[in-house]
Symmetry: C2
């Protein structure tokens, strides 16, 4: 952990103008994703609801934003040495894509038991996969080893100011596409997306409140907020595979100070919200994204005085052979 | 059949300006659906491909257009007597919605074995469901009986000039959203959509060729075209439930004279194209819509000299408990 400790100590929190700079920097690299609406959804929620569909983003998730901003922020010299990360999820594919777009190398440390389809996605973008044991200590150890051997720079999935600023460009765009939002609601995993969202609203729409949603089975952000200190979630149990990480050292201050509330939702509420969006809105969204809709549908985000609500739909990467409403049968 | 014979004899084929009139008439009733693109799709197809996503249309299918145009075209007196149709698919829900939007009644004749979810959708829009036996003769008999008893006007799913003109507004919009299309490809069931598409291109973009795609197991349009006379498909066998109808008397002249070619695709090509769109483009589309992508992916629509191709994605109504790639396991 000492390498990561040193890395974190050297980093400053990103500020609001970093999001605007990121938006300019990555404009030609990522998609400006559409905002979708539904009369039926509005009627159910008792509010005007706007879905910012990062499911349509490159690699199928908002993670392309942070990864591209990290690469685009580096000096030519840094970038030429390549990048390394440890992830088996959307950040891995995003960093692989970002490196390919910048003509440099990426090493992705993945546990040997990661799903074949995820390994193929990462390899498909030309990244080098480095095996590790399926535990946090080993993946950090292997990533550090790759860093030392190759000179590649670690791009952490969320505890990186460039990544946080990049993720904030989703809300930045949303605030450009939809005016007068009373609130924006994002899923919370490691906290990169919601931290960037806080920065985006600060500079672009200070009256817009930021809420988080997370599974009850991985509720470290909600517990941290109620305790007033950051606690992790050792054994996350949730279908929302993108939200199993615990919030980070850099993202915690945003969650503590700027996020109005982190709403927790049960597994069955996540699955039924996900299914509702597929069935009624014809959008393929992943379970992580469904948490924000579950927060609306369960009434835990009170809609009164919040007439216009933006939801960040974080991604659409789902195993179509293992849909959660079929798995439980 | 004599009532339907009389009805058909009294109808004139719609003409190009009917589509423009329909577009104006239904503008406030239906959605202007988005056009989606994908770099990966373009690379696979060797062309620039534009998906006109009627899956995002009201009731989840382009059928809302024709039904709304039929209702909006009636005199106040006609409309007040209500409408009747026989359908267990998207047209039933579309006519129920259109009637509700116009404050009048709809009777929908459905076989007693129609899926519960479809009956509920129709009933949810306030239409009256009238049971019939699950065969064509009985459903036409019952619809005629309803018509005589109530004075309601029959709105046929495709053999109706108002419906054809209404369906043509999807291509009309697409030609407004995307310029310089070399071809438009639509699924072919009864032929309402492709006939309206012929009219839309005639007036708006005469150089754009119109192609159809249909399942090999319901290939009446392709066979009719090669025989030079309209033949039906008695026992359609296809996962594309929206394409089991045979082409109509009013739609046949369009298919015969204006459609460049009707491409047939196998069931496994339909299912794998459908899955590809869900997985890679994050769009929930129904099997009928996947036929046009299957025509591209199988190379049966030659892409050379057709650089810019529009595909009408007809709808997104799918039973999420019975996905075709899981059913075959």
């Amino acid at each position: 952990m000492s390498a990561d400790r040193n890395r974190l100590d050297s980093l400053a929190l990103p500020v609001a103008r970093d999001v605007e700079a990121a938006a300019t920097r990555i404009a030609s690299l990522v998609h400006r994703t559409p905002v979708m609406t539904s009369r039926t959804l509005n009627a159910l929620a008792g509010a005007e609801v706007f879905l910012k569909c990062e499911s349509f983003q490159r690699v199928g998730a908002f993670k392309a934003r942070g990864a591209c901003n990290a690469l685009a922020s580096m000096s030519d010299e840094e970038r030429a040495r390549g990048v390394v990360t440890h992830s088996s999820g959307n950040h891995a594919a995003a960093l692989a894509l970002a490196a390919a777009l910048h003509g440099t190398r990426a090493w992705v440390v993945m546990p040997t038991n990661a799903p074949r389809v995820k390994r193929e996605a990462v390899a498909g973008y030309g990244a080098t996969i480095v095996d590790c044991e399926p535990n946090v200590a080993d993946r950090e150890r292997v990533a550090e080893q790759v860093r030392q051997e190759t000179g590649a720079e670690l791009v952490h999935p969320f505890d990186d100011p460039r990544v946080i600023a990049g993720q904030g460009t989703a809300a930045w765009e949303l605030l450009d596409q939809v005016t007068g939002l009373d609130a924006i609601l994002t899923p919370v995993g490691g906290g990169g997306l919601i931290s960037g969202t806080c920065l985006a609203t600060q500079s672009r729409s200070p009256q817009t409140l930021v809420y988080g949603a997370e599974p009850l089975g991985a509720d470290d952000a909600a517990r941290s907020k109620s305790l007033g200190q950051r606690v992790g979630c050792e054994h996350p149990r949730t279908v929302a595979d993108g939200l199993r990480a615990s919030i980070g050292e850099l993202t915690w201050p945003f969650i503590r100070d700027h996020v109005r509330e982190v709403i927790t939702v049960e597994e069955d509420a996540i699955v039924s919200a996900m299914r509702w969006v597929w069935e009624r809105m014809k959008l393929v969204i992943e379970p992580s994204s469904a948490t924000v809709l579950a927060a609306l549908f369960t009434g835990r985000l009170q809609a009164d005085n919040r007439q216009r609500i933006g939801l960040i739909i974080s991604g659409g990467n789902v195993d179509l052979d293992a849909l959660p409403w079929l798995e439980t049968r």
